[in-house]
């Protein structure tokens, strides 16, 4: 007699068969969001993806405090310094002690190329501390501080946990600062395309007929143009003398200008299938205005689905921004994003001398994977009654 699908049950209640009646009632009174949460929780990869995504956004929020230095600080005498490994324990006379440190650098001159290179010097020791005073910054642009989570106890000696670039800028700090830009551009771009997508997709699906036909042709047209050349053309059209913040918004608008089509299709499809549902007809017969019908009755029934597709379109935005900045058409310093950092690794010569310059690519990879898994889980969970 139990017709409830085991998959949609709260996990802890499935095993206790005795409380079957209780289970059934808990499912039937559970809200839509509760059902979604139960289902989402079962999707292990999605949970992992969700946690990683939260961590990345947390990093993006506390950038100033988390990074050991500032991305703009140039130290010409530390060109292409290799990564310093962090040691937590130090060998002393009393045995191993908790005392974090990194090894310093010494300069070696390559006799063939006559090139100065930095190598790790096991003899030198640079003490590392937590909650140290270092580079001053302005937290969220509101108040001044110089407290950093981790860094060298001696403010004069810089540390490079992930190495330095060709101007001696700290890669780890740049990457942490880049997190804020890369992740927020994805989020902001998705919100912009969400607005366009829901508006045009909604109009298309709700009215149908000629309007629908026209909007569909436009979408087809935009989708048929290869995105990178189009983006390149649009990004190159941004004046080079714009301030960084305006370029940032310009790039976001360009990305969402093309990104809305996918979302519009999803919204349209939902509208088309809902339009003939009984409850929409009932609302209409009840004298509800068109706007009320849409916002009160139709949108809530596919809102969870929209959130899932929104999550799935963030990675595309991040990848697009990375590609554009990598090509030198997107963001520029002093704004740092992962793509701007990867631009340093554009030719084989710099990659060969400083392979650690590819590390920001890893950040892109992790962020995109996490968001993909999260979005997949959300999409599955958004339809608790399907499957």
């Amino acid at each position: 007699m139990a017709v409830t699908d085991a998959k949609t049950l709260p996990p802890e209640t499935v095993s206790s068969g005795a409380a079957l009646v209780e289970v059934e009632s808990s499912v039937s009174v559970a809200s839509q969001w509760q059902l979604m949460w139960w289902k989402f929780r079962k999707h292990r990869m999605a949970m992992v993806g969700g946690v990683v995504t939260l961590i990345i956004y947390a990093i993006a929020i506390f950038v100033e405090f988390l990074s050991p230095s500032s991305p703009g600080v140039i130290r010409a005498d530390y060109t292409w310094a290799p990564p310093q490994r962090l040691h937590f324990l130090r060998q002393t006379e009393q045995g191993l002690r908790w005392d974090p440190y990194v090894n310093g650098y010494k300069v070696e001159i390559d006799p063939e190329a006559l090139k100065r290179t930095f190598v790790i010097d096991e003899e030198q020791i640079v003490d590392i501390g937590f909650f140290v005073r270092g580079e001053p910054y302005k937290m969220w642009g509101l108040w001044e501080s110089d407290l950093h989570l981790v860094g060298s106890t001696d403010a004069e000696v810089p540390v490079y946990f992930l190495g330095a670039d060709r101007m001696g800028r700290d890669l780890l700090s740049s990457m942490i600062y880049g997190t804020r830009v890369s992740m927020s551009i994805g989020l902001l771009g998705v919100f912009l395309s969400f607005f366009l997508g829901i508006l045009l997709g909604g109009i298309s699906g709700f009215y149908g007929g000629t309007t629908d036909n026209l909007i569909q042709r436009i979408i087809e047209f935009i989708r048929s143009i290869p995105t990178i050349p189009l983006w390149m053309g649009l990004a190159a059209a941004l004046p080079t003398d714009w301030p960084p913040l305006r370029i940032y918004f310009g790039i976001t608008i360009i990305l969402s200008f093309i990104g809305w089509t996918g979302l519009a299709r999803v919204v349209r499809g939902r509208f088309l299938s809902l339009r003939t549902e009984d409850f929409v007809m009932a609302a209409r017969l009840d004298g509800a205005s068109e706007l009320t019908t849409i916002w009160r009755h139709m949108v809530p029934s596919f809102f969870s689905h929209i959130i899932a597709s929104l999550t799935l379109s963030i990675p595309g935005m991040i990848l697009a921004e990375t590609s554009l900045s990598f090509l030198g058409l997107g963001l520029r310093r002093p704004v740092v994003s992962w793509g701007v950092l990867l631009q340093e690794a554009q030719n084989i010569r710099s990659v060969a001398t400083a392979p650690w310059l590819l590390i920001p690519g890893l950040a892109v990879l992790v962020a995109v994977l996490a968001l993909n898994f999260l979005g997949d889980g959300l999409r599955d969970a958004a339809d608790p009654y399907n499957r």
Binding site: R217, E220, F221, R223, S224, I225, P226, T227, I228, P229, L230, M232, G233, L234, A236, A237, L238, P239, P315, L319, T322, S323, F326, L327, G328, L329, L342, A345, Q346, I348, V351, A352, P355, L358, G361, V364, L365, V368, L369, N372, F373
Partner: protein, 328 residues
């Protein structure tokens, strides 16, 4: 079928027109034009440009005229004389520059498409038939990884590995001795020897998504009652698989060409910049940065037309494969 073909061809006309307008307008967007860029560059080197020479250049390219006049002039040249205008940066007609590069882009995209198909097809089937097996998980994992890696990063990593461990460069499409050589069988063989690296890099993302599509479609089909019926009457498993479900699951496979192709052309553009391939990518970015407008507009337009034609071919294939679409 003929009617379908004609209708699709007719649909293409406004699309092509829109593409040409968009391509031209994008190029007009940045403030200034090639001349101002050139004057600025010369001023940076403390050189002055003679007013008369500037006026002559302005006259020659019609730079002072309104946009729609310039556009009509440009279109007129293309349609009646196959003349795409002149490239300012190269001082050559655009048509001398684009065709060779476009042909190589075409070869590269086509090879990538074939690669995507050949790899995604068997893996997709395997993944669906052996759902939740180790192989399936592995394919899914690789697929996700392939989707998440920007292909220029893949190109960089591959370049680094080739340089570090094999001490050779993987850039370019030709060996130095064939770089400027005329087309011979040797040059063609040389091209194919170099082609696989960019093909694999460009094809990875497409392969990943196509594997997932193939798997999902085939899984849907495998759950249908006719499969059970066929199995019950004793049809051998592989024959059952290929006779019905695979053929139906193949349908969306073909239709995806429509969107896989733009992705491939996009990917080719950026990868070829990293690997410095003699395709459209590197020339396009240079033209954009220099505001070499006719060259950039021609590239954007021709690349888009290439994908539109590809989409048309995929639609025709689909109509040929599936009578329901033809009849609509």
């Amino acid at each position: 079928m003929l009617q379908f073909l004609l209708r699709r061809l007719l649909y293409m006309v406004p699309t092509l027109l829109a593409i040409s307008i968009v391509a031209f307008v994008i190029i007009q967007l940045p403030p200034g034009d090639f001349l101002t860029t050139m004057v600025a560059a010369m001023a940076a080197q403390d050189e002055d440009m003679d007013q008369a020479a500037m006026a002559a250049l302005e006259e020659q390219y019609g730079l002072g005229q309104p946009v729609h006049v310039q556009y009509l002039k440009w279109m007129q040249g293309i349609i009646f004389r196959g003349d795409f205008g002149d490239s300012f940066g190269w001082n050559k007609p655009v048509s001398d520059l684009v065709w060779g590069r476009l042909a190589l882009t075409f070869v590269l995209s086509l090879a990538s498409l074939l690669f995507v198909w050949v790899v995604a097809f068997p893996i997709g089937i395997y993944s669906a038939v052996k759902q939740y097996s180790i192989g399936d998980y592995f394919a899914t994992f690789i697929g996700f990884l392939g989707l998440a890696t920007p292909n220029f990063l893949l190109a960089l990593i591959l370049m680094y590995i080739a340089f570090k461990f094999f001490n050779q460069s993987v850039g370019g499409l030709f060996s130095p001795e064939y770089q400027e050589a005329p087309w011979t069988w040797g040059r063609v063989a040389d091209l194919f020897a170099h082609l696989w690296v960019p093909v694999v890099i460009i094809g990875t993302a497409g392969t990943a998504s196509l594997i997932r599509i193939m798997r999902a479609n085939l899984l849907d089909e495998l759950r249908k009652p006719y499969v059970v019926t066929a199995r019950a009457k004793g049809l051998p498993e592989w024959r059952l698989l290929f006779k019905y479900p695979v053929r139906i699951a193949l349908n969306p496979f073909v239709s995806t060409v429509g969107w896989v192709l733009p992705t491939l052309v996009s990917g080719a553009a950026i990868v070829s910049i990293v690997l410095s391939l003699p395709t459209t990518g590197p020339l396009l970015i240079r033209a954009l940065l220099q505001q070499d407008m006719y060259l950039a507009a021609s590239f954007i337009m021709l690349l888009s037309i290439l994908t539109v034609i590809g989409t048309l071919v995929s639609d025709l294939l689909l109509a040929w494969l599936d009578p329901r679409i033809r009849m609509e």
